[in-house]
């Protein structure tokens, strides 16, 4: 399948990129993840990898040219695939015309009918050699990281079935000596990155030791990287927020035992489970409906109370923090919200978020529960006026009053902290927000009344 190579968007503020150098030529075979060109953005030069395998059929943007992000810069396709339409479309997008090229290719075709014929035969062959792979086998291969094309099929008509993938995986497992295995576990080295020198590529103790000694040498020198791109954007925004907006913080403990029980029931026999975090977004949206004075921004000389409730959920990535936004969270059911959150988090992890996915937030939730943090304070994500943070759920003995008598019960508690911009929101309002949030989380039944 023919695919465009596009000018990638590598930072939030990147709008254009310049092709510095093509590392392959037209007609070269490229494999997925091969570096095929270098681009320049924000004074850094970055290599770009091919997203697919095939032949680099057409370079659309020459070295030194600058183009907006996401526009096509080259085409990777099969050897004989017709890409003329794609070229036309690409030039249209780039605002270029390149008639000469097209005419040339027409001439080519006229004078070389022999080539065309052989191309046809090859195309036919390819059709016959189509490898049947069952959907189950494809799924399993993806799970196990097996190249499914290299698996021999044992199903009817030679179709590759799930069982074939499993046995292929078992037969091609990386061989490791027991000692090497133990050392790797102890020092926390990923065996996948190490080359084996034993019989049949077996990974031996000596291979590990070599890596470990090298690793120490590397560690002796400091690592320095430039403070640019995403890191700098995050840094600038947070400094601006923290140094201009006077933050005040409020923390409360919330008993989420009932929610845990409720979700347990919801999640029975369901493929897509609803998490406590999803529930939190759901409830926060409802509280913001009740208390629109939290859902605001200071824009210039005006305080704007937003009509929409768009809740951002902080997602940690290797290169920094990103906050995809659930638009109109108050108008969505829990299940719809849960699906959307999962989708956006996935897109964030795959670095596929579009600007509309992370812009337009009016309130943010940051959850570090999975890291075992009890509670923490966050810096408000401007231009928003408040951010809610949530810690880990802990089993805690709690004094409970029942029919006038006090008793101790073990409950699941989380600590929720609200940071607000004191210029816009006073303490009582913030406290009231937390009070209502706690109310709904502790008595989820009352949500029915919303």
């Amino acid at each position: 399948m023919a695919e465009y190579v596009i000018m990638p968007k590598l930072g939030f503020n990147m709008e254009k990129g310049t092709v510095v150098k093509w590392l392959v030529r037209e007609g070269d075979l490229v494999k997925e993840q091969d570096e095929i060109l270098e681009i320049e953005t924000d004074k850094t030069v970055m290599p770009v990898e091919a997203q697919t395998s095939g032949i680099l059929r057409k370079i659309l943007v020459a070295e030194g040219e600058e183009v907006p992000v996401t526009l096509p810069i080259a085409i990777i396709a099969g050897k004989d695939e017709d890409i003329s339409k794609m070229i036309d479309e690409a030039y249209q997008k780039l605002g270029k015309t390149e008639v000469v090229e097209k005419e040339e290719s027409k001439v080519d075709r006229k004078v070389s009918p022999v080539i065309e014929e052989s191309q046809e035969i090859e195309a036919k062959k390819e059709k016959e050699e189509f490898k049947k792979i069952s959907p189950g086998a494809r799924r399993k291969a993806k799970e196990l990281g097996v190249e499914v094309e290299s698996v021999e099929g044992s199903g009817p008509g030679g179709v590759v079935i799930e069982k074939d993938v499993i046995s292929y995986y078992q037969n091609h497992q990386v061989k490791v000596s027991p000692v090497a295995q133990k050392i790797a576990e102890k020092v926390g080295v990923d065996l996948g990155t190490i080359k084996g020198t034993g019989i049949g590529g077996k990974k031996m103790k000596r291979d590990l030791q070599e890596i470990l000694t090298k690793g120490e040498e590397v560690n002796k020198t400091e690592k320095r990287i430039s403070y640019t791109g995403m890191r700098k954007i995050i840094g600038d925004r947070l400094s601006q927020s923290k140094f201009t907006a006077p933050h005040i913080y409020f923390t409360t403990s919330v008993d989420i035992s009932r929610i845990i029980a409720l979700l347990k029931r919801f999640n029975q026999d369901v493929e897509e489970r609803i998490s406590i975090n999803d529930f939190l977004v759901f409830v926060a949206a409802r509280v913001l409906v009740e208390q629109p004075n939290i859902n605001c921004s200071l824009l210039g000389e005006e305080i704007v109370y937003h009509k929409d409730i768009n809740i951002g959920v902080a997602v940690a990535l290797e290169e920094g923090l990103i906050v995809p936004v659930m638009k109109n969270a108050d108008k969505k059911s829990l299940s719809v919200l849960s699906k959307e959150i999962k989708k956006l988090i996935r897109l964030a992890r795959e670095r596929k978020l579009m600007p509309e996915d992370y812009n337009g937030g009016t309130f943010t939730i940051s959850n570090l529960g999975m890291y075992g943090v009890d509670n923490f304070t966050a810096i408000i994500n401007p231009p928003e006026a408040a951010i809610l943070t949530v810690g880990t759920a802990k089993r805690v003995p709690v004094v409970i009053e029942e029919k006038g008598a006090e008793k101790i019960e073990v409950r699941s508690l989380i600590e929720a902290t609200l940071s607000v911009d004191h210029r816009l929101i006073d303490g009582a309002k913030a406290a009231n927000f937390l009070k209502r949030l706690k109310h709904y989380l502790e008595f989820p039944e009352s949500l029915v009344l919303c």
Partner: protein, 327 residues
Amino acid sequence: MKVKKITYAQAVAEAIDEEMQRDNDVILLGEDVGILGGNFKATVGLYEKYGEWRVRDTPISENSFTGLGLGAALTGLRPIVEIMFGDFLMLALDQIGNQAAKIRYMSGGQAKVPLTIRTTLGGGRSSAAQHSQSLQALVCHIPGLKVVVPSSAAEAKGLLKTAIRDDNPVIFFENKMEYNKIYEVPEEEYTIPFGVANILREGEDITIVGTSNQALNALKAAEELTKEGIEAEIIDPRTLVPLDKNTIIKSVKKTGRLLIVDEGYERCGAAGEIAMSILKDVFYYLDGPIERLTTANLPLPFSPVLEFPIIPDEKKIYQKAKEMVKG
């Protein structure tokens, strides 16, 4: 568990008897259900025990006496209407599909319709094109009806009792080829809930869903398949509406293959419906296309030589399952 050995017809009669005894509102209507004890002997003894006010022979007029049953249901009774051959459902489809299925909905839930329509499916008796059809899909298509397709005598008894107690119209398909077969049925009273499929046999290689007695045929085929090294998982869905999709989905995720056996016609049939309704959930677990075994899209012939080849049976299930696993 203590069991007794009785025929499928006796099990049906027992279910009706127990419910008539338990609840005075339960009545029985239909052609020859009274003095004759039913065309298939599935209501023997009830007329003698409960008399002509509760066990009523009707004229040959399906639409009328189905309407009579519906009226009785709306006004407080819990009628069982017998339509001798499933083929004759066509005569009563207005009362069933336009009236019984709709009233609870159109009255905003004010009226309930505790009506059970017992009828039959299944070919193989040389009853020809108008007395051999399996028309479960016809009623499955209409929202507001529950559709039951029991396999063995014990299943028929437990499910029929649930049908009679249900406050919605239930179409209950007995298999006319099963009436005279002897089965083990539990001694003590029991009911079987709707919408809970029964896993008759566990296996790893292929899931076979069989409706009505095709579940039993599949079970026999499974024993043969073992000799080929194929372990089939056999599921009896019991009710087509509501359908227990989860049990089927779980099984297919395990086996990667699904064969559905249903004696209805193939076109727009229950087998196709089951396949499509779970496809989305199992697609990425499949090792081959979902397949179905049904009656061919033809009027059923009178001649046994022509009739049997177009109806699914244990040999065809064996053959098809083997093809699907081994090619």
